[in-house]
Each structure stands twice: as structure tokens, then as C-alpha cells.
């Protein structure tokens, strides 16, 4: 029989190998026996580590080098009998939403875990009318602004030009959650070229801008149909699941009916932010 002291030490050991990462108001607990890996996550997700939030999802994580081919393999996300299966060259994961539990076997790299986390969040958000978007985002004067575009459109540039009174939520992947009659953007640790995690704050979304570099700063309204098309092209979506595809499609139309969507043509200098906020 364990002594009271021994029990406490055991409990401490369990606590030490657990971490809750809360992004977009969804706490995800990671349990692992790999202390080095957990330490790496602690550093990588600093600012998004929750001290006491009860988890909405709990993953048992096993790290392994053997049996994984490469990071560049295709992602396969499938749903069968209430379980999601996530597979890529460097990870295999299972997640059962009903029990809120899952398991992950992966290369002990932060970008492998980051990919699993991104996919899980796309699945969580899709059921709630939200999505992850290829977009930088920032809060200014209490309102969130999203800046979307393909690689090279200016997400990193507009992020790096943000004035001191703006809170950068992300330079790469925006977290969009439907809330009441509108949408809210949350900060994420999902980084792009700036390699700088966003602020862990949120605000109602005031506008979505599609970026275009030009020889003047100006904002043009985009027709709703074109806005929906452009939005759909920038939503992160991995699941091979008809129901989820359909709900994401309708979420995009819902978003453009509630949030102004515009094109922001800009000269790459700080004056562009005079138009925002």
C-alpha cells in the first residue's frame, strides 16, 4: 500500500507530464510519458498553456521516431463510427468526440503536434459554424481585423507593419468562432514567417480583407458571391467527410452575410494601418 507521501509524489509525477493548451476557448489536455516532448510543447505554446481549465479534449501522446516516413506525406482525415482518424507521415491520431478522448503517436517535433492540433481545431470549429482561415489577424480599438490571401499576398508584411496599439493574433492562421449574431477572432500560436505566436486575446470581427499589393492604399468592397468563393478557398479543411464539407460551405456563406468582406490594396509601409480600425 502506498503511503500518503508516496501517493502525493505519484500525483505530482502525473501532473508534471500533463499540459493543457487552450486555443480559441477550447482546452486540450496532453498526457505523455516523454518529459522532453512535454517541455518542448510548454515552450512552443507558452501563452496558451492553461493552468486550471478542465479539458474539452484529452489526448494520450506517445512519441516515436521509428515507423514514420516523412513530414510531407498527404494528410488523411476520416470519420468512422464516431471516431476521427488523422494520419500523415509523421503522425497517427484517433479522436472520439463523444468521450472527448483520443490518442496520438507522432515524431517528437513541435510541428508534428502543431499539425494535429490544427486539424483537431478545424473539426471542432466546423461543428460550431467556425473555421481556421489562412489569414493574419489583429485587434485594434477592440475590434478584430482579418487579412487573408495566398502565400505572398502580404500576410506577413501587414503583420510586421502593425502599429504598437494593435494586438497581433496571428500572422498565418486565424481562429474564427461563431458567437451570438457575429464572429470572434482568437489569437493562435500557429505561426507563419514571423515565427511569433499571437496574443492570447479575442475580439469581435469587424472586417475581413483580402490582400493585394499595389501602388496605393485603398479598400474596395467585394461582391458577396466573390467573397464567399475567396473565403472558401482560404479555409483550412482536411476532413474527407461529406457532412463536414457541407457545414463548412454553409458557414462560409453565413460569415459573408454578417461580416464586411473587402479587398485591401496596399503599399507595403505602415501608412496602410491608417485605413484600419
Amino acid at each position: 500500500m502506498l503511503t500518503e507521501t508516496a501517493k502525493t509524489e505519484t500525483e505530482r509525477e502525473v501532473d508534471r507530464l500533463s499540459l493543457v493548451i487552450e486555443i480559441g476557448g477550447t482546452p486540450v489536455r496532453v498526457n505523455t510519458t516523454d518529459a522532453d516532448f512535454l517541455g518542448m510543447l510548454q515552450d512552443h505554446y507558452a501563452g496558451f498553456v492553461a493552468e486550471s481549465s478542465p479539458p474539452e479534449i484529452e489526448f494520450e501522446v506517445e512519441t516515436a521516431n521509428a515507423g514514420f516516413v516523412s513530414m510531407d506525406s498527404d494528410v488523411h482525415v476520416t470519420h468512422q463510427r464516431g471516431r476521427w482518424s488523422l494520419r500523415r507521415g509523421d503522425f497517427q491520431a484517433e479522436w472520439e468526440p463523444a468521450s472527448r478522448t483520443g490518442s496520438i503517436r507522432l515524431s517528437p517535433k513541435s510541428h508534428s503536434f502543431d499539425s494535429v492540433l490544427r486539424i483537431v481545431h478545424t473539426l471542432v470549429l466546423a461543428r460550431q459554424g467556425g473555421f481556421l482561415l489562412h489569414a493574419a489577424s489583429a485587434i485594434r480599438n477592440g475590434k478584430a481585423f482579418l487579412f487573408a490571401g495566398v502565400s505572398g499576398a502580404g500576410k506577413t508584411t501587414i503583420s510586421s507593419l502593425a502599429p504598437p496599439d494593435a494586438d497581433l493574433l496571428t500572422d498565418e492562421i486565424s481562429y474564427v468562432r461563431k458567437q451570438h449574431a457575429g464572429y470572434v477572432a482568437f489569437g493562435t500560436p500557429f505561426t507563419g514567417e514571423l515565427d511569433q505566436a499571437g496574443e492570447n486575446v479575442s475580439a469581435p470581427i469587424a472586417a475581413l480583407y483580402f490582400l493585394a499589393k499595389g501602388d496605393e492604399n485603398r479598400i474596395d468592397r467585394i461582391a458577396s458571391a466573390e467573397a464567399a468563393r475567396a473565403l472558401l478557398a482560404n479555409i483550412l479543411f482536411f476532413a474527407e467527410d461529406e457532412e463536414l464539407v457541407q457545414s463548412t460551405f454553409h458557414s462560409a456563406f453565413e460569415f459573408v452575410s454578417r461580416v464586411p468582406v473587402m479587398q485591401l490594396t496596399f503599399v507595403p509601409d505602415a501608412r496602410v494601418w491608417e485605413l484600419i480600425g
Binding site: 458577396s224 458571391a225 468563393r229 472558401l232 461529406e242 457532412e243 464539407v245 457541407q246 460551405f249 454553409h250
Partner: protein
């Protein structure tokens, strides 16, 4: 010549916005924007109305075209939409919510 019946595939999501009909495949997330004729076919595809009746009532009044030519073009378009799993096409009326296996 046998009649053709059209029904909307249950495996797609569809929305009309600013007069544009957009369809997304549930299978592979491909997004389609339908032209005017395809939109008419989609909207009229109730599984019960034969294609020649759709052409006569909806397409001929909209476009200055011979009924026989319009029907031939509409058949080609319907089969193209079926090949992309947007519509189901059958020589028999199609029951609501019938499986994609009923299309051809």
C-alpha cells in the same frame, strides 16, 4: 426517345448568392459555379419533371433557341453535371433522397 429525369445530388451543398448558384462537392470539396442554363436545370431538378418539359417551360422562353437543339444541349449538360455528382440523371422518375447509386 426515352425521357430523362433529373434530381439534385444529396451529396453536395448549394447556395445562391447575387444570382450565382454555387455548389460544393461533399466528396472532394470541389467548388462549382453554375452558369445560367445549369442553374435552371439545378433549380428544376425535382426528380419528377422530365427534362423535355423543363426545356420547354424554363429554357426555351429564356433563350432564343430551337427546342430540339435546346433539348440536345440540355441532355449533354445534365450528363456533365451528373458526371461531377451535382445531379442525378435517370430514365425513371427519381424518388426524393434516393441514393447516388440511382444516378448515372
Amino acid at each position: 426517345m426515352s425521357k430523362l429525369y433529373l434530381a439534385r445530388s444529396p451529396r453536395v451543398a448549394a447556395r445562391s448568392l447575387d444570382g450565382e448558384m454555387m455548389i460544393m462537392s461533399g466528396r472532394d470539396s470541389t467548388l462549382f459555379t453554375l452558369n445560367k442554363t445549369a442553374t435552371i436545370l439545378w433549380q428544376a431538378a425535382d426528380g419528377a419533371t422530365p427534362l423535355d418539359e423543363i426545356v420547354e417551360r424554363k429554357i426555351c422562353p429564356e433563350f432564343d433557341v430551337e427546342p430540339a437543339t435546346a433539348l440536345k444541349d440540355a441532355e449533354t449538360l445534365a450528363h456533365e453535371l451528373a458526371s461531377r455528382e451535382i445531379l442525378q440523371v435517370s430514365e425513371e422518375p427519381i424518388a426524393p433522397n434516393s441514393t447516388p447509386g440511382a444516378s448515372r
